[in-house]
Amino acid sequence: MSRNLFKAKQYATTKVYRSRPQELRGSEEDKPNVPQGIMTKCPGCGKLIYTKLLIKSHKTCECGYCFRVSANERLEMILDEDTFVEMDHQLTTRDPLNFPGYADKLVKTQTQTGLVDGLVTGRGLICGYPTYIGVMDASFFMGSMGTAIGEKLCRMYEKATHERLPVIVFTASGGARMQEGIFSLMQMAKVSAAVAKHSQAGLLYITVLTDPTTGGVTASFAMLGDIILAEPGALIGFAGPRVIEQTIGQKLPEGFQRAEFLLEHGFVDKIVTRDKLKNTLGSLLKLHKKHEYDVTYN
């Protein structure tokens, strides 16, 4: 079964289920007989699946393929109902390089996705255990990290350190946000610093690497978890596969940089399927509960 995962050459997006932006949708009256998004094709095995069924099955195909999910869908899957309190919802970038065309593209992407940037942070409960949680959303500039994501992450780690709570981060990112140049690069150091302080306080940090996790995100907070989980088949690496192929001039082996490959090479603690993800996180939080009390009361 897992071999099928590697065949995925193309990644699915969740656009099919979301109401599509007006300019892409065109005039709906023109084609009233074409119902949109009833069936979804799995990029893993090519089978057509009822979209409703797919949503019920945590957006996982029978073949094991995990469809990409939005930050909000992820929060719904993981957190106890009605426990999420979002932080810094409005925080956005100030376009530090004054990069040509960036401001316009930002506004357009914000309208299309309904997100302010590619990360949602906040506090909530998982199986009754309190935790801070950050979820990246690959539909926003490929989840790339610029100053807004860097700042939001830092504030979350700092708040968690202050309140002595764990942090869980779901990564989904193409790496650093190109349009913010050197500022994006520096976010890697800035966020790693906040992670290090949280860690020094003896607190638990779990990362869940989802498809795709690459570049500057892999090379900073994604790989710094005390425990690193991954979703089956997720692409995880520093350099992207295309860049590597161009650099070394040869085809990459099948399954290269997939979650299973990282597990094999010792960089991931555990691969967890979506149906077990919430409970796994709940158990891990429970396992670290006592330890945190020790540190506090000693």
Partner: protein, 261 residues
């Protein structure tokens, strides 16, 4: 005449430009090179060791380009593998143990991307350096001498004081890579170099670096002694300042320096 960002990119990459080992030779005395990451192998893209800065023992870590093709092949064009970063971290931890300041010279197009680098966790190696350097209980000074490319440069760049040479560049990615991602055309590197704001002057203005080391007309190779004297002065003044702080004060300042970007 003022150089354009693209002129600086070309200047920073000139094979005649002084390399890490050239700085080590002129600035420090009695350098003893130490090899290996103790985990997998020796990475010659990064040189590390101990030497005297005036009378003070310091740990020196430098990314090393070759002067010719043969040297460059053995140095992998100064593109480190994970073991290079792990060697650097080992030597930094050693420096912390013996209370030695750490001086880093940054000069890399970027961390190497290849099958082995991924298999051995390039991302993990860089990430670990970022977090560990932030907490290292000894002063760190980094100087970007030519090219500071991406996370591969930053992995030696989490420091109390950061300098760039006047014609050095420091960026998220090479202008070619940047152009191919954003403009879908690697030949637009010159436009990219302009848009990216990658010169020492830009970064100083942003408050990301602490100072610019002046170069003679035409570049550092034209009067290398002049350049090294300034680097020496900067390191000397900074060490004096940093060593008056308590370690906790120093670490707090280091944290805030990056936190405010």
């Amino acid at each position: 005449m003022d150089l354009t960002p693209w002129d600086k990119v070309k200047l920073a990459r000139m094979p005649i430009r002084p390399t890490g080992l050239d700085y080590i030779e002129l600035i420090f005395k009695g350098f003893v090179e130490l090899h290996g990451d103790r985990l997998y192998r020796e990475d010659r893209a990064i040189v590390g060791g101990i030497g005297f800065f005036n009378d003070l023992p310091v740990t020196i870590i430098a990314q090393q380009k070759g002067r010719n093709t043969k040297e460059n092949i053995s140095r992998n064009f100064s593109m480190p593998h994970p073991e290079g970063y792990r060697k650097a971290l080992r030597l930094m931890k050693q420096a912390e143990k013996f209370n030695r300041p750490v001086i880093c010279f940054i000069d890399t197009p970027g961390a190497f991307c290849g099958i082995g680098a991924e298999e051995r966790g390039q991302g993990e190696a860089i990430a670990t350096n970022l977090a560990e350097m932030m907490m290292l209980r000894t002063p760190i000074i980094s100087v970007v001498i030519s090219e500071g490319g991406s996370g591969g440069a930053l992995a030696l760049g989490v420091a109390d004081k950061i300098y760039m040479l006047e014609n050095a560049i420091y960026s998220i990615l090479s202008p070619e890579g940047f152009a191919s991602i954003l403009y879908k055309d690697a030949s637009k590197a010159e436009t990219a170099a302009n848009d990216m704001k990658l010169t020492a002057q830009d970064l100083y203005q942003f408050g990301i670096i602490d100072g610019i080391i002046k170069e003679p007309a035409g570049g550092a190779h034209n009067d290398f002694e002049y350049v090294t004297l300034q680097v020496k002065d900067a390191i000397g003044a900074d060490l004096k300042e940093l060593m008056t702080l308590s370690v906790d004060e120093m670490l707090e300042k280091r944290y805030q320096k990056f936190r405010n970007i």
